[in-house]
Symmetry: C2
Subunit: 187 residues, 2 copies
């Protein structure tokens, strides 16, 4: 399944031909159609469901139910690792940009919507007003996608790392009242 996902990710839906899929997964057409009776569209749908599952467990659920600051920090870590610091791109982003979107509109919409919603939820619980939380969440998710496009277009993964670092800093929640340990000489 990860192999299958990688074919669609790198080649796009139209570019991922059955011959290339068999080549990279090692599975013949017979096996592929055994697992995915609906053919190529079935395979892509399964990959999208698999990705959604991963994001639910690693990103959305922690944001929705966990301690906000920790969940957001985890989100940035997982995101950087998932996209391999910009070397890997977002399959949903790839599908979203061309006519493939119309085939999988619901799944694509849900991916972005739930990410924004989950992040906004964490920001609200972290002390931001609802409108500000939503705007910040939108900015962060949008920034990740933009960073992926730019990193790939310029073939420079440093762009991604830099952008994610900046986004993470700008997303910082308001300070809590807790006193932090101070070194001597600090104000």
């Amino acid at each position: 399944m990860p192999l299958l996902a990688e074919v669609f990710r790198e080649l796009g839906y139209e570019g991922a031909t059955l011959s290339r899929i068999t080549e990279r997964t090692g599975l013949g057409k017979g096996s592929l159609y055994h697992f995915f009776p609906g053919g190529k569209e079935d395979m892509a749908a399964a990959v999208l469901a698999d990705i959604d599952d991963w994001f639910v467990r690693h990103i959305y659920q922690p944001l929705e139910t966990g301690e906000p600051r920790a969940a957001i920090a985890k989100m940035w870590d997982e995101t950087a690792a998932y996209f391999r610091s910009g070397r890997r791109i977002c399959l949903i982003g790839v599908f979203a940009l061309d006519a493939t979107r119309d085939k999988f509109a619901a799944a694509i919409r849900l991916y972005f919507a739930r990410w924004i919603d989950a992040l906004a939820s964490a920001l609200r619980r972290g002390g931001l007003l609802p409108a500000a939380a939503r705007a910040q969440a939108e900015t962060a998710v949008l920034g990740i996608q933009g960073a992926l496009v730019l990193a790939r277009g310029l073939n420079d993964e440093a762009i991604f790392t830099r952008a994610v670092g900046r986004l993470a800093r700008e997303l910082a929640l308001p300070e809590r009242g807790k006193a932090r340990p101070l070194k001597k000489g600090a104000p």
Copy 2:
């Protein structure tokens, strides 16, 4: 040529088949191969060159040589109009995300690099330090691409308009020393 560009933009390189190109442009295969002896790859290259030309004239040159504030304001206006407030997406972004990038790596890289460079130039001349100018320019171009992905993924062009508005505000150059007219009671 605009029609040709739109086919690649909406369908991607792999999805833009010759039959769909003939269908949308009204040109038969004979005519297409007469104008583009190199076939499909030749057509895409011509479209990329055409887009580059447009951006040079409407975005890059004003940023590189014009009055910084006016050029940046013009950039936001032209950008919003060009992408039809998010209804249209970026052909170069589409090509950048899948394996098509490797076919047109130089043109794609140049598109993003020159946009960032031109914007950074305007920001420097507007009073920003070189490092800050470059970081801000990167953020802006990245934000535009992200806004396009998200607007299309969520099928909600308001996202694009909102994001571009925010990016434009955050890109604001430092105030010049000029006194602004003050209303009575202002500090």
